[in-house]
C-alpha cells in the first residue's frame, strides 16, 4: 500500500525533494524531440523515450539521428539514424529540449485537479530501470569492427530494429561487440522491438535497479490527491453546474478577446468549467436543447450558466468545426475548442504560457490530424469533474481523455 501523503510528510528529507524535481522535469520531456550531447562533443537528436540518471543507466532515444560530430570516432556517422539509441549516464553531458517550458514553471499548471481521477499507487521506478535494461538487452551487435550504420542502410535489407549504444569515442561498444544500426520498417516500433531477437552484451547489462527513472511506457503509477486533476473527465451521472462564479474567474485570452487577462480558477469552483464556443453543432449528435453557444472569453460566468443549463449529456463526442464537446460518460471525454492564437483558455486551470512546442498532448484513439488546442473544453457533466484542454491536442476519435496525475509520492517521498 502506498504511503499516504500525510503519513510521509514529516519524513521527507530535502534531498529526496530535489530528486523528485529532476524526476518531474524528466517526465515532462518524455516524448519530446531532444538533443543529447555526449562527452566527446557528439550531438544526437531523437525522441526521448526513457531516462534513468542513476548509476550506469542513461537515457534512451527513439529515432535518433546524429547531428553533431564529436572529437572521437563513434559508431554512427553524421546524419545516420537509428531506431533506438542508448546513451549511458557516464557518457552523458546534457539533454536539451528546444522551445519548451516546464508546465509547473512560473505558476502555470496544465490541468485542474479533479476528484474523479483515479487513485494509483506509488511510482515504481524500478520498472523504468527494467525498461532500460530491456532496451540494452535488445541491442544487436556484430563482431566486425568495421561495420557501420551507413553500410547497413546502403545495402537495402530491411532489418526491423536496431539499437545503437553510444560509448564515448570508441569504435566499438565493448571488446566483444559492435554496433549495427539500421532504419526500422515503418511498422509499429514497439511491436517490432518486442519481437526482435537480440544478443545482450555483457558490458551493457545492468543488474541495478535505479530510482530516478522516467518512462511513460513503464508501469509507473502515481499518487493522486484529491486536488490532482486529469483532463476532461465527464460522467454520465452528473450535471453541469448551472452557475459559475465568474467574478472569481479571470478569463484567459481567447481569440475573441486577445486582451483578456490570464485565467486563474478559484479553489471552490475549480470543477466548474465553461463550455467552449462551438460554431457548428451537429444536430444529429447534439441535444436539441442546446440553443445557445457561449462565447469563449471574458463572459465566462453567465455564458457557462447558459450553456450548462441547456446542456445535457449525450453519450458521444460532438464535433463542432474543430471543436469537440465532451459528452457525459463513464469514460474519458473532453471538449476540444477551436484553435486560437495566443495563450490557451483554461477555465478551470491555471493558465500556462504558450511555448511553441510545449506539451503536445495526444489522446489515445484513432489517428487524427494534429489540432491546436489552445482553449480548455468547458463542458462539464458533473460536479466533480473538470475538463482541461492541453495546449496542443492532436485529436482523434474515438479517444480517451488523458488523465494527468500529480506525482505526489515518489518512492515514498513527496514533492517539496
Amino acid at each position: 500500500m502506498a504511503p499516504t501523503k500525510e503519513s510521509v510528510s514529516e519524513e521527507i528529507p530535502a534531498a529526496s525533494s530535489l530528486g523528485d524535481a529532476l524526476l518531474y522535469a524528466t517526465m515532462c520531456i518524455v516524448g519530446l524531440p531532444v538533443e543529447v550531447q555526449v562527452k566527446d562533443g557528439s550531438l544526437y537528436s531523437g525522441v526521448l523515450h526513457t531516462a534513468c540518471f542513476d548509476r550506469d543507466h542513461g537515457i534512451v532515444l527513439k529515432k535518433a539521428t546524429k547531428i553533431g560530430k564529436g572529437k572521437c570516432r563513434a559508431n554512427l556517422a553524421l546524419g545516420d539514424c537509428v531506431d533506438t539509441l542508448i546513451v549511458l549516464s557516464s557518457d552523458l553531458v546534457q539533454v536539451v529540449v528546444r522551445g519548451f517550458v516546464l508546465p509547473a514553471d512560473e505558476g502555470v499548471v496544465d490541468h485542474v485537479v479533479g476528484k474523479s481521477t483515479e487513485s494509483v499507487n506509488q511510482v515504481e521506478s524500478h520498472s523504468c530501470s527494467r525498461e532500460i535494461e530491456r532496451e540494452e538487452n535488445r541491442s544487436i551487435f556484430q563482431n566486425s569492427a568495421s561495420r557501420q550504420v551507413t553500410e547497413s542502410r546502403a545495402d537495402g535489407d530491411k532489418e526491423d530494429n536496431s539499437i545503437v549504444e553510444v560509448a564515448n569515442g570508441a569504435p566499438s561498444l565493448s571488446p566483444s561487440s559492435n554496433i549495427k544500426g539500421r532504419n526500422s520498417h515503418l511498422a509499429s516500433l514497439p511491436d517490432q522491438l518486442s519481437s526482435q531477437e537480440i544478443e545482450a552484451p555483457k558490458a551493457l547489462t545492468s543488474s541495478d535497479t535505479s530510482t530516478s527513472v522516467c518512462s511513460t511506457s513503464s508501469t509507473s503509477i502515481f499518487d493522486i490527491t484529491a486536488n490532482s486533476y486529469a483532463t476532461g473527465l465527464v460522467t454520465s451521472n452528473t450535471t453541469i453546474p448551472k452557475k459559475i462564479k465568474g467574478e472569481s474567474i479571470i478569463a484567459k485570452e481567447s481569440k475573441l478577446n486577445p486582451d483578456a487577462k490570464v485565467f486563474t480558477p478559484t479553489a471552490t469552483n475549480y470543477r466548474q468549467v465553461a463550455a467552449p464556443v462551438p460554431r457548428f453543432v451537429s444536430p444529429s449528435q447534439m441535444s436539441n436543447s442546446l440553443s445557445v453557444v457561449p462565447t469563449i472569453g471574458a463572459q465566462l460566468g453567465h455564458e457557462v450558466e447558459s450553456f450548462a443549463s441547456r446542456f445535457t449529456v449525450p453519450s458521444k463526442v460532438v464535433p463542432y468545426n474543430n471543436l469537440i464537446a465532451a459528452q457525459a460518460g463513464n469514460g474519458t471525454h473532453y471538449a476540444r475548442p477551436e484553435p486560437i492564437q495566443g495563450t490557451p483558455f483554461m477555465p478551470q486551470g491555471h493558465p500556462r504560457p504558450h511555448p511553441p512546442q510545449a506539451n503536445i498532448l495526444k489522446f489515445q484513439g484513432t489517428a487524427a490530424q494534429p489540432i491546436q488546442l489552445p482553449m480548455a473544453p468547458p463542458i462539464m457533466a458533473g460536479e466533480n469533474q473538470t475538463l482541461v484542454a492541453p495546449m496542443h491536442v492532436p485529436f482523434a476519435q474515438p479517444y480517451a481523455v488523458p488523465q494527468p496525475v500529480m506525482i505526489s509520492d515518489v518512492n515514498g517521498y513527496i514533492f517539496r
Binding site: 534531498a15 530528486g19 524535481a21 529532476l22 518531474y24 522535469a25 524528466t26 520531456i29 518524455v30 516524448g31 519530446l32 562527452k39 562533443g41 525522441v47 526521448l48 523515450h49 540518471f53 527513439k62 529515432k63 553531458v93 546534457q94 539533454v95 536539451v96 529540449v97 528546444r98 522551445g99 519548451f100 516546464l102 509547473a104 514553471d105 512560473e106 505558476g107 499548471v109 542502410r153 546502403a154 537495402g156 532504419n183 530516478s212 511513460t216 509507473s220 502515481f222 486536488n227 486533476y229 483532463t231 511555448p355 506539451n359 503536445i360 495526444k362 489522446f363 489515445q364 494534429p370 492541453p390 492532436p394 480517451a400 481523455v401 488523458p402 488523465q403 494527468p404 496525475v405 506525482i407
Partner: protein, 180 residues
Amino acid sequence: MEGSVGEELAVGCVLSLRTTLNDEIEGQIVAYDRPSNILVIQEGSSKAGARRNVRLLKANYIKDFTFLKKAEDPLDVDKCFIDLAGLQAREDAALRQAEIEAERIGVGVTSEAQSIFDALSKTLPVHWDKTVIVVMNEVRVSSPYLPENVTGGTPAANDRVKKVLELERKRLQARNSSQV
C-alpha cells in the same frame, strides 16, 4: 565541481554558465540532483517570443558560471502534474513524425538527389523507391534526375513533373552559385 554543492542551495537562481564543450547557457536553475549531479536549467526569459529551452546538464561539465540574480524556486510543487497518457500519446506522435521524416531521406542517394526530392516534395506528392523518385505514384525520376530521366505516368503528369523538375534544378543551381 565544487560549485555543485552551492548549486544545490541555489535552486531558482539565474546563472550564466559555460560548459567544457564551450556551450554558453543562461537560465534559471529549476532543480539539482546531487546523486546524479544533474542540473535542470530553464533557459530564456518570460518575455514572449524568447527562446526557452530546458537543459539537463551534468554539473561536472560546467567550466565556469556567473551568478546573475536570485529568484524564487520556479517549480510550484502544488502544480506539478503529469499526464501519463498524454506523454505516451505525445511520444507516439513524435515517433510517427520522425518516421515520416525518415521516409523522406533517400538511402544511397546523392545530396543533389535529396535536394531535388525535397524541392519536388514542396509541390508534388513524392516518395523514394530505392534511388528513384516516384511522383504522384506514377511518374518516375531516376538518376541523374534530369528532365530526360522522367518516365511513366500520363503525358500531362509527365510534362508537369518535367517542368517542375527543370524549375527546381534551376533554383538549386542559382542557390548553389550564389552561395559559392
